[in-house]
């Protein structure tokens, strides 16, 4: 009666570019200079937008929102590996850069974060779900969407994004299991920013990596340097190719760090020290890509300024458009509840009209 080893597993971490912007050419994904420049511009725009949103929030012009600072490479690099219009993005709430990459107007993002439902409209032909706030619940939607793509014979992929805290939820487990059992074309992207509000990674799970959780569900799992946009793109592209060719799901752990507070309603200094934060400031994904581009002669000091100024202008235009928005008609409350208003909603609309003055 011998004891036998039934299976052995290992977990890999992928890094392509170091902090100085040097890359391992053997791992460098196939990206043109134009594409790299586009990625850089998207990250800078996302950062500028995030900064501006914070100012607007502090001025009382936006409500509570979740900043994305430090995580731009993790979600932009992944989303860039997909095909807009064909593939699906099922986000949580810390993926602003992915929305921007796929063309969501900045003024719509501002509107949503100011509590204006009109900003929630989905762009024509874009397969993106709205921001989903209840943790890990949307991962299940990705499995259903991925199943639908497979059933229809479309070679589309569903990318769903969540944080390290989400991996503690039952829905994470259920979604991973459905993905594995039905061999679905879905990419589970964990932006492991190491903090679920105030709870650090080691209090969230006893697992050394998030990536290893894939093993239990019968799918590949990989950890990637989430602040290295080339590494992120590379593993996402591999996962997407595998999904398209019938190889099923992948769990990607983008190892990154939340440089900001959880949301604008939080103060991370209550639970996080400078010793914890400071090393990650140096790992910022944006200057890292800039250093690579400078070394390759794709970018110089003027170029950096130019990209930043273009982003500033785009953000300024969006803020202007957002502020010119007429107040929403209160009757919208009753729109899009059902395909057709039910009698109780019609009646409640009459109460509303009394308050707006129309029904007097």
């Amino acid at each position: 009666m011998p004891v036998t080893t039934l299976a052995q597993f290992s977990i890999e971490r992928v890094e392509v570019m170091d902090h100085q912007g040097n890359v391992d050419e053997s791992l460098m994904p196939d990206l043109s200079e134009e594409q790299i420049r586009h990625l850089y511009e998207m990250m800078v725009l996302t950062r500028q937008f995030d900064d501006r949103m914070l100012k607007l929030q502090r001025q009382g012009r936006l409500g509570t929102f979740a900043r994305v600072m430090g995580q731009e490479a993790a979600h932009i690099g992944t989303t860039y590996a997909l095909e807009k219009g064909k593939d699906w993005l099922i986000p949580a709430f810390r993926e602003t850069g992915a929305f921007i990459l796929w063309g969501t107007p900045l003024e719509d993002i501002l509107a949503v974060n100011a509590g204006d439902e009109r900003g929630q409209k989905i762009g024509e032909g874009v397969r993106v779900l709205p921001v989903s706030i209840p943790i890990a619940t949307h991962l299940l939607h990705a499995t259903g969407i991925a199943w639908a793509m497979k059933q229809k014979g479309e070679d589309a992929v569903a990318l769903t994004v969540f944080g390290d805290g989400a991996t503690s939820e039952g829905d994470f487990s259920e979604a991973m299991n459905f993905g594995g059992v039905f061999k679905l074309p879905v990419i589970f992207l964990c932006q492991n920013n190491q903090w679920a509000i105030s709870v650090p990674y080691h209090k969230q799970t006893a697992a050394t990596t998030v990536a290893q959780k894939a093993i239990a569900y019968g799918m590949p799992g990989v950890q990637v340097d989430g602040n290295d946009i080339f590494a992120v793109y590379r593993v996402a592209k591999e996962a997407a190719d595998r999904a398209r060719s019938g190889g099923g799901p992948t769990l990607i752990e983008a190892h990154t760090y939340r440089l900001s507070d959880h949301t604008t309603s939080d103060d991370a200094r209550r639970y996080r020290t400078a010793e914890d934060l400071d090393p990650w400031l140096e790992k910022d994904p944006i200057p890292r890509l800039a250093r690579y581009m400078e070394k390759q002669g794709m970018l110089d000091e003027d170029g950096v300024v130019q990209v930043r100024e273009q982003a500033t202008q785009k953000v300024a235009d969006a803020v202007k458009a957002f502020e010119e928005l007429e107040p929403a008609d209160p009757e919208r409350i009753f729109d899009n509840v059902f395909a057709e208003r039910t009698p109780n909603l019609e009646e409640q609309l009459r109460w509303l009209k009394f308050r707006t003055g129309e029904g007097r």
């Binding site: 439902e117 709205p130 299940l140 499995t143 229809k152 459905f178 009698p343």
Partner: protein
Amino acid sequence: MARLNMVQAIDQALQQEMERDDTVIVLGEDVGKDGGVFRVTEGLVERFGENRVIDTPLAESAILGFSIGAAIAGFRPVAEMQFSGFSYPAFDQMVSHAGRMRKRSQGTWTVPLVMRTPYGGGIRALEHHSESMEAIWAHIPGIKTVIPSDPYDAKGLLIAAIRDPDPVVFYEPKRVYRAIKMEVPEESYEIPLGKAQVVREGSDATLIAWGAQVRTCKAAAEQMSAEKRGEVEVVDVRTLNPFDRETVIGSVRKTGRAVVVSEEPPTVSFTSEIMAQIMEHAILKLEAPARRVTGFDTPTPLAKLEDWFLPDVDLVIRETLKTLEF
């Protein structure tokens, strides 16, 4: 016309809708080869294959969450929760997503799914297999809640639910599953959601019920009539939300007396909503205070004591007589 029980009527509705529309899929625990623990989905997998009749892993939140995704991407999932008592992990998906996706995407993404589940007592089942918690679903904005009382309605309401563009909770009174057979047309037909039905006409009082309790109320009304103690109208609510006030409260306004009957724990039950509707829209027509016959605010008792919990004909008659004699 074939005489079918409710299980057969629902199965037929599923067969016909799957035949008519390739996007209709059935999923849940044991719905495939086993045909469901009550055999409601019998024969589906043989006819439509494992891609459209899906035995899922044992995970209720996932069954519904997956269905939401499939619905967004163009399918019409009919998800089975094996017993309503096990559906609560899916509550989060219903309240947090199914009922809001149309709103949250400003009309771009819609969720035309049906969540079918057997509910209610009277079959001597285990704990968690007998409860009647329909009010928690009826409370959710953006969701319709439908409960058929007989095989004919079950077929027509389910077909309407599958074709509805929004999420529908379809509660099946398991006590009725095999209790009665009635003529059910072979051809497909819809019974519109949001429409109650007067199932017995009367002028002296109105009994309001849904699901298995419609039969209790009809029996009570027949007995009262036979004993010449009054002619009682019975209204089958059929759709809890959206509620058909015109028919239900219209009957109360006509008879001036009402007894609301369900097997729910009464506090914040759907009977509470109907009592409120009577208060708002019929009070000046009432000849007596409206009354309720319900379960108790206790966990549904295990099999040996469940009959004491469930409304019965004698209790319904007694409460109806109280309103008549007020």
